[in-house]
Symmetry: C2
Subunit: 190 residues, 2 copies
DNA sequence: TCACTGATGTCGGTGACTGTCGTCAGCGTA
DNA sequence: TACGCTGACGACAGTCACCGACATCAGTGA
């Protein structure tokens, strides 16, 4: 007989999503989440640095993939072309089957400023990772940072559209449209 | 005889900056800050929603000015030209005399992830405000959001350079350079 | 058989934040 | 002059996020 059920981290993450969605983030204590899967508050904080972080587990994996595709772009590709490669990877990471889950998660985040704040931090880390990967490709500063910001902005705007109600296009198609809109913006300066 | 010294909020903000800088943000309690200016912890939280917010008082004023300049751009100006107007306003808000203070403040923020998180939230609010102002000018979505992101990115990157050591150019000059670098990036896609 | 490991529980503490109520100088008003 | 009101603050108690230290014990390998 096993002493504890396996997969504590996954069970905690699933329970947190459910409770945050039903009761609200602030109305749910870390102890509530832990107790709902037969664990203690202390164990919750062993797996997650804080109460918000539980919604962002797996983010590291996504970032790794996103950034890896910058490095995987052909050597002769320009900075923005490499960014475009990474956007393709992002679209693969979020297939349509994942949309309902992403929508629920996003609704929780949107309902709480603190969670929105954490989401922005994750996007900032994504930007930094991407800028570093571009620098590794030989892109100088500040172009590397600017291209990374551009890529993450396109991803962010496209993702928000993707999880929006009534939206049915796949993420990749939305990204392409957003990127086109962005390019149409620049020439109008000066 | 006055019952209390006036300017409680300003005294608290100044004391917080000083203590966060000397002892570190985490090593300073809200009670420490309050006590150092003869007030109680409770009063600290009457003026500031949380311990981080004290470093971002005045941000509203900046945002107001930034956004107002989008609206003040000539009616025939394009989205990116209106953004460029706002960037000019930002440069006026941060004259060179302000640089030492900004540098100190930034060093505190950079030393703490939680403060960095809050800074990102402020920049996101700036982006939202700017997007709304652009929409008021008749710019459609997602162009309004994209132009706003672009503007805030340029401001953010330029500001970071401005507070960097050895940097002596005024903010406006840096902004112009960054904007030029950004524009040079786009044509390379597709 | 036994030492050891690793995941978890237990306990106690700190500090961020909040609701509520009491206090009192200054001010207007009769 | 007396009186009542208001606004800024203090006092107090409570909740909860988070953390350090130590105990527990099933499983594992020698």
């Amino acid at each position: 007989m096993v002493r504890w059920e396996p997969g504590a981290q996954e069970r905690l993450a699933a329970a947190a999503l459910e409770l945050y969605a039903s009761r609200g983030f602030e109305q749910t204590t870390a102890a509530d989440v832990a107790q709902s899967v037969g664990l203690t508050e202390r164990t919750f904080f062993r797996y997650f640095a804080d109460k918000r972080e539980v919604l962002f587990a797996g983010q590291d994996h996504f970032q790794q993939l996103f950034v890896a595709n910058v490095a995987a772009a052909p050597p002769e590709a320009s900075a923005m072309e490499a960014v475009s490669f990474a956007l393709d990877a992002a679209a693969v990471f979020f297939p349509d089957e994942r949309r309902p889950h992403s929508r629920l998660r996003q609704s929780i985040i949107d309902a709480n400023p603190g969670l929105h704040e954490r989401e922005l931090l994750k996007l900032a880390r994504l930007t930094e990772g991407m800028a570093a990967a571009l620098r590794d490709r030989g892109v100088p500063e500040p172009q590397a940072t600017l291209a990374a910001h551009t890529g993450v902005t396109v991803f962010g705007v496209a993702f928000r559209l993707w999880v929006g109600e009534h939206e049915e296009r796949p993420l990749g198609a939305i990204e392409a449209d957003v990127l086109r809109d962005l390019q149409a913006l620049s020439p109008s300066v000066r």
